[in-house]
Every structure is written in structure tokens, then in C-alpha cells.
Amino acid sequence: MSTESKALLSSLTDQREHVLGIIEGLTDEALRRPVLPSGWTCLGLVRHLAIDVERFWFRSIFAGQQVEPRASDAAVWQVGPDEPADAIVGLYRREIELANAIIASADPDAEPARWLSQWGDWRLHNLREIMLHVITETACHAGHLDAVRELIDGRTWMVLTE
């Protein structure tokens, strides 16, 4: 891997670990509780990161792989009572591994294998721009989870990590 790829991956890894770290120790009930009026839950957010962020950007768009079809927003965000928390966290970890294999074998300047016509003029031109997009999206969601964790049990992460 180039020094640039290593730096991008190291930054992304920090953010993924932040997401996994801030939800660690939450009870099953807390992971499924909509904390704010907008209604999302920690588990729903982790599945969104697995399917709509890691899988979508690295496997589907950048590598051009055929991936499992995405049924609906609700199927991602709404986690049924019969869906174990471990399975959702496991899905995120698995997609991270698959994404890492793609990142390790590609140049940051390499273009995505496909792009969606509905995005019009908007374009992420290469793996670097896709990684910056995923780093910031993951970081932003890590910030959401920080705030939600503080709401649930008062635990904070950022003050410890600066």
C-alpha cells in the first residue's frame, strides 16, 4: 500500500473503531431505543454504515461488484426484535474487512468502476475522494453516536480522545 493509502485507511479505521467503541457496553434495549424525535437507533445506524456506506461505496461503486439488493430505507434503519445485535455489528465488521481488501489492492487515483446516472454532475472521481467521503460520513455518525451515548447513560468519548 502507498503511504497515502495507509494514511487514509488509518484515519478510516480510527472512525470505525470510534463507532464500535462508543456503542460497546450498551444494553440490548438501549441499542434498539429511538433516543431522539428523528427516531433512529444505534443498531439501525450501524446497519446503515455497513450496507449504505462500506458495502455500497467500496464493493458496489468502487469495485463494481454485484451486491445484495437493498430493499428499502426501513429495511436498513429499522431493526426487528428478532434480529440479534451481534449479527448487525458482525455485518459491519465483515463489510469493513471486505472494504479493506479492496482499499489495499487499489491506487488512490483509481476511478470507481461504476457511477449512478441519477447523481447528475456530482462525482467522486477516485478512491481517494470515496475514502474521504466515507471517513467523514463515518466520523459524522460517530459524532451522532457520541451525543446519543451521552443521552443514554452520560458516557462521553471525545473528551477522552482529544
Partner: protein, 174 residues
């Protein structure tokens, strides 16, 4: 538009433009607030929105000092930051307004764009300050510092979203 954005290409432009976009997201989250609202602690957090703007500006400036002068130029590298000073970096002081804090943030952003544009090499690395949250003996390149500022900005923008939602229902997500 700064000189940096006009003339830079490739990795430099990608990094600075992405950072600029996420600073804008954070600014958007604190749009149309009074100073009282910006300083108010909501049920969501001990942090207020003005405090987050103040904090991200301080953090970015601190990392610029690292790029220019290494670990010894950073506030946390000197070992003399008291808990009180640290907490004051998260809250507006008497006389500090949201508009004033946003102006300081703009100034830091300009300095970042200029400083990064002037660096011949994003691979130039310097040892990090000694801190429990850094790997002992680790060095960071200019690139890694920029990625850190970027992720930190996006993370605080996410945190700010939740505070804003609990403040007045203003939403940027969901």
C-alpha cells in the same frame, strides 16, 4: 475562494475542499442562532453549539502549530494545560459571541489553506506529542494531520446535529 482552492490540484485540492465542505456543514448546523441559544446546554449534552465551534477552531489551530513547529508548538505538547483551560475551550467566555467565534474559525481555516498550499510534500512527518491516546513514538505526516482535522470536524458536526435537534428541532439528518 482562497489562493489554495484556485491553484491546487490532486490530493491537495481533494483534502482542502473536503475539509472546507465539512466546515460549512458545521456552520450550517449553527445557522440563525442567538448567542443565548448557542451557549445553552440542552438535555442532549454538556456541550453547547458555540462551544463546539470554539473547540474545532482551537483544535485545528493546534494542529497547524504542529505542522509548522512540531509537537513542542502544540498546547498539549507543553504539558501546562489545566483542566479549567481545557473546559474553557469547550464553552464561550463572557464577551465571546457566536459571530466572533465563527470569525476566528474562518481565520483558522484560511491559515490552514495557506499553510497546506505552501507545503511541498504531504509526506513530511514529525513525532506526535506524548499523550496516552497516541501510540508512543509515532510520527504523523501533514496528510495524516489533515485527515485527523477532517474527521474531527465531521465528528463534531454530527454531535452538533443532535444538540441542534434537541435545542429547537432543527435537523440536518433523519
Amino acid at each position: 475562494m482562497s489562493t489554495a482552492e484556485r491553484t491546487l490540484t490532486g490530493e491537495y485540492a481533494d483534502l482542502l475542499q473536503t475539509l472546507g465542505k465539512h466546515r460549512d456543514f458545521l456552520r450550517y448546523t449553527v445557522r440563525d442562532l442567538t448567542d443565548e441559544q448557542a451557549a445553552r446546554r440542552t438535555t442532549a449534552s454538556d456541550l453547547c453549539l458555540a462551544g463546539i465551534i470554539k473547540h474545532v477552531a482551537l483544535v485545528e489551530r493546534n494542529w497547524l502549530n504542529f505542522i509548522e513547529g512540531g509537537a513542542s508548538a502544540m498546547a498539549s505538547g507543553q504539558g501546562d494545560v489545566s483542566v479549567g483551560d481545557w473546559l474553557d475551550g469547550f464553552r464561550p467566555m463572557p464577551g465571546e459571541t457566536l459571530a466572533g467565534l465563527l470569525r476566528q474559525y474562518d481565520e483558522v481555516a484560511r491559515r490552514t489553506d495557506e499553510l497546506v498550499a505552501s507545503r511541498p510534500d504531504l509526506d513530511a512527518a514529525q513525532p506526535l506529542p506524548e499523550a496516552p491516546w497516541f501510540e508512543p513514538g509515532a510520527s504523523w505526516t501533514v496528510r495524516r494531520v489533515l485527515l485527523h482535522i477532517l474527521a474531527e470536524t465531521a465528528q463534531h458536526a454530527g454531535h452538533a446535529d443532535i444538540i441542534r435537534e434537541s435545542l429547537d428541532g432543527g435537523k440536518t439528518m433523519g
